[in-house]
């Protein structure tokens, strides 16, 4: 293995990703209020949405399902990811936001700013 080539390749990788960041690609993504329910149904097989609570900044959303479960959505880079959660939710208040834990370390906690989430605590 040629360490110089490996080092050069790593530098090229970092430079390319840096260029993408500098150009701002993918930075304007958000979850729109009128698409959270559809996103939850698209991302979670069999999930039927009933009511959507969308973060005021469009970073995340909690969608209540017809079967009593919830879809937790958050932006992962420029695209949403979702996990289906069963009640009771691991939800806590942190200032103006609510933080929901999906119980999965790689997924991480998800912050949602939405007044009506108070009713779920």
């Amino acid at each position: 293995m040629d360490w110089a080539i490996l080092g050069g390749s790593l530098a090229a990788v970092l430079a390319t990703a840096g260029l993408v960041a500098w150009l701002g690609l993918g930075r304007d993504a958000r979850i729109a209020e009128d698409e959270a329910a559809r996103l939850a149904e698209d991302l979670l097989p069999g999930f039927a949405a009933r009511e959507a609570f969308v973060d005021t900044a469009g970073r995340s959303a909690l969608v209540a399902g017809a079967d009593g479960s919830y879809a937790l959505l958050r932006l992962h880079g420029a695209h949403p990811v979702a996990r289906q959660l069963r009640p009771p939710l691991a939800i806590r208040r942190d200032g103006a936001e609510f933080v929901i834990d999906a119980g999965e370390r790689a997924f991480g906690p998800t912050a949602i700013a939405h007044d009506k989430l108070l009713t779920l605590m």
């Binding site: 390749s9 690609l25 993504a29 009128d34 609570f53 880079g77 695209h79 990811v81």
Partner: protein
């Protein structure tokens, strides 16, 4: 015959085309969900770099097996012109089957899932390659070519050409190619279907270079373009999106999932978590692609496709 590694030679071209695609998205002012995102790009390229390292570390095992198997070859095929063409076509046929196995057998999927773990579809996604191929039996699909008698350097060379061809089809910037080309060759349109998680597109278009294999073996699904009836935006990535930019997690998460399932499953079901299709579970608590398609078909037939008002 001493042949160069075509993939190594092509790397500067990979970088150049990727930069062109990045600039094209910027010039089109596409800074939303389309195109590139910095952390996704970094993960893809780090996985690509890692693939070259693991290739050096573990590639020798495959090579040793092929050299050993070569002593049992049926014919002594030299470097004649027709052998190059035959090797390229048969290598692509072998690729179709190893790729299909990579999607239909969870053990193989554990290695291939890396390539599908980006929610973007761009030229950097093409470089998001596995670290763990050596731990599957995928190379056995190419063993018949050695046993037929094609020279090993020739097989390595045409295999490299196959990989190079597949680079350019990982883009959303090319719509459809001319009809005759789409009929025979794998194209961006065909391969977008392969990377889609929309139920209608799951488990389709396994081709490397020639899409005719999918048409021959019943796995071909055409893309519905934006100007065609029934179009829906393609969602790329995994049915259960990863939700992490950690390249190590991307490389090993499915292996860890298999290990957990093998540990916790009832004895009679353990092998199913290794050899059945991804999403299979002994208690049907998970979703296979067939189950997802069935739910989608029921949902669209019932007219319940969202439209819930936000609160």
């Amino acid at each position: 015959m001493d042949l160069p590694d075509p993939v190594t030679i092509a790397i500067p071209l990979f970088v150049a085309f990727m930069l062109v695609e990045i600039v094209a998205y910027r010039r089109a002012r596409r800074t939303d969900t389309a195109g590139y995102e910095a952390r996704d790009t970094l993960t893809s390229l780090l996985l690509g770099l890692g693939n070259t390292v693991t290739g050096v570390l573990f590639g020798g095992m495959a090579l040793a097996l092929f050299v050993w198997a070569g002593q049992f070859r049926l014919f002594e095929i030299g470097y004649v012109w027709w052998a190059w063409i035959a090797a390229f076509v048969l290598d692509d046929l072998a690729y179709y089957w190893v790729h299909r196995a990579g999607h239909r057998i969870r053990w193989f999927w554990a290695a291939h899932v890396i390539h599908h773990s980006s929610q973007h579809y761009n030229l950097s996604t093409a470089l998001r390659q596995t670290w763990t191929n050596a731990f599957t039996l995928g190379l056995l699909f190419k063993l018949p070519l050695v046993l037929i008698g094609f020279p090993l350097p020739m097989l390595l060379f045409v295999g490299g050409l196959n990989l190079i061809y597949q680079f350019w089809i990982h883009t959303e910037l090319v719509g459809r190619m001319p009809r005759w080309f789409e009929a025979v060759m794998n194209t961006p349109s065909h391969h977008r279907v392969h990377h889609a998680t929309n139920p209608r597109y799951l488990d389709a278009n396994y081709a490397g270079v020639f899409i005719v294999w999918d048409k021959l073996f019943g796995t071909y699904v055409p893309e519905i373009r934006p100007n065609e009836p029934g179009h829906e935006p393609i969602r790329y990535g995994l049915v259960r999106q990863l939700g992490s930019f950690n390249p190590v997690w991307a490389a090993f998460h499915e292996w860890i999932g298999i290990a957990r399932d093998l540990w916790s499953a009832p004895w009679g079901s353990k092998l199913g978590y290794l050899l059945r299709e991804p999403g299979w579970s002994h208690d049907s608590s998970r979703h296979t692609s067939a189950a997802i398609r069935a739910k989608w078909a029921a949902r669209t037939a019932g007219g319940n496709v969202g439209g819930i008002e936000p609160v």
